[in-house]
Symmetry: C2
Subunit: 877 residues, 2 copies
Amino acid sequence: MEKKYVYDFSEGKKEMKSLLGGKGANLAEMTNLGIPVPFGFTITTEACHEYYLNNEKVPSDLYNRVDKKLLDLEKRMNKKFGDPSNPLLVSVRSGAAASMPGMMDTILNLGLNEKVIAGLIKKTNNERFAWDAYRRLIQMFGNVVLNVPGSEFEKVLDNKKETKGVEYDLELTASDLKEIVNDYKKVILEKTNKSFPDDPKEQLKLAIEAVFRSWNNERAKLYRKLNSIKGLLGTAVNIQAMVFGNMGETSGTGVCFTRDPATGENKFYGEYLMNAQGEDVVSGVRTPKKIETLKEINEEIYNDLLEIRKKLEEHYKDMQDIEFTIEENKLFILQTRSGKRTAAAAVKIAVDMVNEGLISKEESILRVDPASLDQLLHKQFDPIAQSQTVPATKGLPASPGAAVGQIVFTAEKAHLWKEEGKKVVLVRTETSPEDLIGMNAAQGILTARGGMTSHAAVVARGMGKCCVSGCSDIVVNEYENYMKINGKKLVEGDYISLDGSTGKVYIGKIPTVDPELSGSFGILMQWADEFRRLRVRTNADTPKDAATAIKFGAEGIGLCRTEHMFFEGERIKAMREMILADNLEARKKALDKLLPYQKSDFKGLFEAMGHRPVTIRLLDPPLHEFLPKEEADIQELTAQTNVSIEKLRNKIVSLHEQNPMLGHRGCRLGISYPEITEMQTRAIIEAALEVKKEKNIEIIPEIMIPLVGGPNEFKNQKAVVKKVADEIIKKSGINLKYLIGTMIEVPRGALTADRIAEEAEFFSFGTNDLTQMTLGFSRDDVASFVPKYLEVGIIEKDPFQALDQTGVGLLVEIAVQKGRLTRESLKLGICGEHGGEPSSIEFCHRTGLDYVSCSPYRVPIARLAAAHAAIINKPKL
Amino acid sequence: MEKKYVYDFSEGKKEMKSLLGGKGANLAEMTNLGIPVPFGFTITTEACHEYYLNNEKVPSDLYNRVDKKLLDLEKRMNKKFGDPSNPLLVSVRSGAAASMPGMMDTILNLGLNEKVIAGLIKKTNNERFAWDAYRRLIQMFGNVVLNVPGSEFEKVLDNKKETKGVEYDLELTASDLKEIVNDYKKVILEKTNKSFPDDPKEQLKLAIEAVFRSWNNERAKLYRKLNSIKGLLGTAVNIQAMVFGNMGETSGTGVCFTRDPATGENKFYGEYLMNAQGEDVVSGVRTPKKIETLKEINEEIYNDLLEIRKKLEEHYKDMQDIEFTIEENKLFILQTRSGKRTAAAAVKIAVDMVNEGLISKEESILRVDPASLDQLLHKQFDPIAQSQTVPATKGLPASPGAAVGQIVFTAEKAHLWKEEGKKVVLVRTETSPEDLIGMNAAQGILTARGGMTSHAAVVARGMGKCCVSGCSDIVVNEYENYMKINGKKLVEGDYISLDGSTGKVYIGKIPTVDPELSGSFGILMQWADEFRRLRVRTNADTPKDAATAIKFGAEGIGLCRTEHMFFEGERIKAMREMILADNLEARKKALDKLLPYQKSDFKGLFEAMGHRPVTIRLLDPPLHEFLPKEEADIQELTAQTNVSIEKLRNKIVSLHEQNPMLGHRGCRLGISYPEITEMQTRAIIEAALEVKKEKNIEIIPEIMIPLVGGPNEFKNQKAVVKKVADEIIKKSGINLKYLIGTMIEVPRGALTADRIAEEAEFFSFGTNDLTQMTLGFSRDDVASFVPKYLEVGIIEKDPFQALDQTGVGLLVEIAVQKGRLTRESLKLGICGEHGGEPSSIEFCHRTGLDYVSCSPYRVPIARLAAAHAAIINKPKL
């Protein structure tokens, strides 16, 4: 079938995006809805595709077809293109199937020349308007079509304003503009050795081809690459009759939203200016008026707009962003599209539209981007104050929220100042588990090194605390208590503000606002829960985290990292005593000191979680993480303990590892020192028994053996756990069930999952470590190459943020399949950082996991993402 | 069918090992061959199995059957069990299907009591002999059957010798022995509250059950566990008429081998003593005589022995280790089995036996353990001198051979002293690439830390140089130039001797002997080549290594690590200049300096290898490995370069990685700095072109991209290589083919092998790194837990020595299958350390790889192991 190449707006519809582009399809849709759109037609993306296939030549009879459509257009408009007595002016706009805002070209006011302008002046009786339109045409055409640098035209304009002693374009008179037109033409002749084309048809042809070419300009190509826009044919070209909002006080232009894009409130919202063009509304030179005031100026048009608002929203079933122009008391709609909105607005609109009968619950759920919920759950900067402040630098947006406080450089100082009632921001080169107390005390954390999954980032997200990590512009000197941001020195006590959602760092204080979870949020979450299959648990180590997570809807704890319980106060002392012990007896003695702490922590967790399942991972990190690194701390430790400095140093050296990630950690510790596993099991089981008895709650603790690479490691540790647990339970006389399972985080664990599942009652995929080992990426070190990998497109997303479904995902699939083969009832979850990331959650849904577990503040995101996954993957009937 | 439980020797044969045990089956086989074996019968392993199934009770009518066979035995021997006038004495010996030397129990001289001994004395007219026999019975029986500690009997014996003022048992008289017998009986009564049983039948029953029980004693269970002996029913029990070599000068006993077990020479070899028992031959109290001298004492018996030697060897078709006893001029054969032999003897015997028509080439190949060849390829200690020296400590046998030299603690000193003509041993806490020059200069390397695949171990094996690593008893203080071995201080210049085959470390000098590769070695290798399917390549970085490998039969280079070329002399300077460069231009300038070195290295390699394929891996290690670590070296470097110490330090800090194994290395470097890939490609292609032109050899370089985790990384680097290579080739006007492939060493690489193979022409499995990442084991750090894992049986073998076939092997299989799916012609090899380990080579054969690559000194091992694999896995017709 021969290709049509050119469609009148009346011939298209919104479903024809890939052929007509988004803009063209929507103009067609509106035209057919009876919305007053300026007449016009669209050259298809196929034509653009042919243009490139054909060595940058348009299809042979394209211009014949354009001419025909132009004739139709002239008839409808009752004007003639290039006719000085009754001139039709047109715009030529790009528009691809996917939105690429500002990337491609547009030319307005085509059809003007020396003769036509005389006619236009006569017809409009507005000399200034006519010359300004001509000036704009030449400037745009010169720049876009003829490739004359925009600065050449700016120079002419600026010279004129200077000569005339005026500040704004609007202050220039008609004759000024006429002179500028002449100067512009000289610039073009000078720079291109050609005259500006007088023939309107020639203008049109050149403009069409320029738009085709703009599809492949560098910024457009880069934009498509960065936004993974693939498989499109090219851009469409929309040729449309011009309407002017600057033809006097009966003309105007504006932008409106069918609902409030900031709050989602169902009220008409917008701005306009009379005697203005679109750019005047957004440039800030004149202050636009609220849409409501249009009623006073022209009630009829205002009512028309209200009707169109209703029609478009009902038709598109979404909040619309509408551009309109009034030309001499006549309303035209130039564009409509789904309006951008804040997360709060998105939630409210989605819920309201269900209640209004516009959309279904499923659609409502899909309308809200799960990742955007982050905005709703954390303290934010006052948006106006923030927009008026220039950031000093930018790091990685490691944990969302806003933090304002006085700079401190050590965890101790953070703790101390907090006790004194100060608000502090902890600034470190990078954090380690020793900094925990300081991180907890701080409003936010800023680090010079470390990625999105560095220690600082992971812990901060767990705490729901603002964190900017890997801020390479800062240099921290914690010994002399100062830092430098791009050379600017800040000392302890100076104020700083962090935006953890964007990574921006500000010097000084910016006011913040608290998040407000509107009723719509709760309703949407409830709907999400109706549709999702995946359970959502949380990663929480403390009753406080657990309580936060429950508030956000967590259905259990998927990962309690017991080692975080060893860093505070007396505990770290006992832990270090254990590490420095020379023999089993001394180790047991030290462990006995840790037992009551662990037990009371677990009791707190069980009490907070009630009947909900709690998965507790046994000690995981290498022991050297618990020993001091700084000289002062080493000195202090020898003073505290009876251990000589030499022995302590030797211990530190002997525990040093080349690659701690792949070292003596996880179940390897429990196998080397079964007494650690014994103590932890005792703490868990005794805590569970006591809470069960005291509160009369059915508790089934899930004990998780970390870093298992095969059945033998699991069997070894399972035997240790069972022996201690069964003995305690028997002695207690209370009936207590418990589960023993493992983390699948070593590739070999996934590969031998069938054998492990013979013994293990649940798997939790530790996709952080699984990613590290499967890809060979140390998450502490990837900053040296992952940015480059993203830049050149070797990877599409940071694999520590979004699960690498091809590689790591394949191992997960293998493990799920093998595991269920041996044990059909195997409980499967994920507790890596990916458990809170929407695309990874969708993968978990498809792969048949039972639950995801994520940090408390991501629980709502996970609930919504799980609902998305269920709806998207619903089997088609 | 009812079980028989008891077999006369004449009823069995050597194929009945699982039922009769190894010893029983062989005694039966010899009996049926007409060899003069003392008559006897065997209780089956099934009886032992029943004993355990039946709660440690023997099958109900076992003793009836034993009695019947005993009657037969009495008839044949013309003696009667328990008859004082003509007593039959018997031995009761254990013997399972698998050899478990010394693990289970044996009791001799059963049938003696106070009455019988009188008859024995009368019959033999040898009072001392008789009392000694009785004493031995009570001692063994008391210990083995009645569980009286052996020390109780030793005490009695020692007291007697002291009282008598004699040194050896032999000096005790008949009446001394009689008194000892009485004392022994008292000991038994005292310790067990029971008398020593006088009834011979009772003795026999108790002895049989004791042997059954010994199947499950702790040491036997441990031995089976350590040697992976599984699935056996239990032990058989052999009851055999006693013969005595100590009945006077017409009696004697000895051990002989059908060929020389040290050299393999086809001559009768053995030792004997007249009037002696077996233990006298081995105890060293009396010096045994050479077997040849027996001819002079009793030519008939000597000739009988010669005939038996011939018969047994022809029958078993292997060199036999034979125990014999002469009782009053009558020859008895007590045992025959395949004789242990040195590697040299094994090779010679295997080859000779083919030439003698005894065995096939296949059998000959299977007769030699590939791993044992190591002994033949390295310098060894003089065995006698070594046996007389006590080692000071023991480390890991990291690289075989013997090394004697003066201790030095730095690479520089090693180099310097070597230049002065000294022989040195380099002692380091652990080595790094900077030590290369010193390792090269040293006779051997000793390190305090690091496992079998530490830097020191890997490099030393590559060099064929003796290395003992991970010797935890030593402490090295390289700043003050001394070391301590278990507290004993040694200083620079002291002599030390290392045995890299056992890990033993000696203080002082031990004389060494050079290996001699006999003609048989070459023949066996040639036969191996006829049968193997796998090609064998070598890992070699220098022409010298390449030449060594060719000598050993390498068919190509499977891995040339180019980074090893960057450490020597001027090169490291240029490398560091490159690393410290601030911009592309400066980096290129430094790389230009490296180009001629690389090119000339590659030319050397191509020239050495001739037409054989050469795989060159592009730069792999992280850049920080090339920067100095010691303060002095840092100072020196700033002096050499124009780089400030601050900048240098910053660079070192900025390149520091938490987990270098998972950091910025491999193709990640080439992607960050394509100019490195470009320079290396240029060096390879230019070298190949020049050698091709100069020597007229067809050269097809194989360029290998390391650490590829997916298709995109490979495509990126392939494009860089192709661009440079094709340009150079085109310009040269010479036709040169080259291949571009990758190492599969990241789990994700294996999982995406189908996609990688779309672009890659070959895969080489880098199983060192693949093991590290798949198991999550850092090979530099595993010493902290792998010994424990081996001890408690979580892993059977060190996965860095023998490929983990379950986990890593599964990834290899996945990659082979996926890779060949996309590209049928994909060339597949392995270049990890496993490429030289027999069980791993068998895996490679089964998995369908095309070649293995290993260090030069392991090439013969790999050739033989590949032949084993082919023969063992030959499809059955």
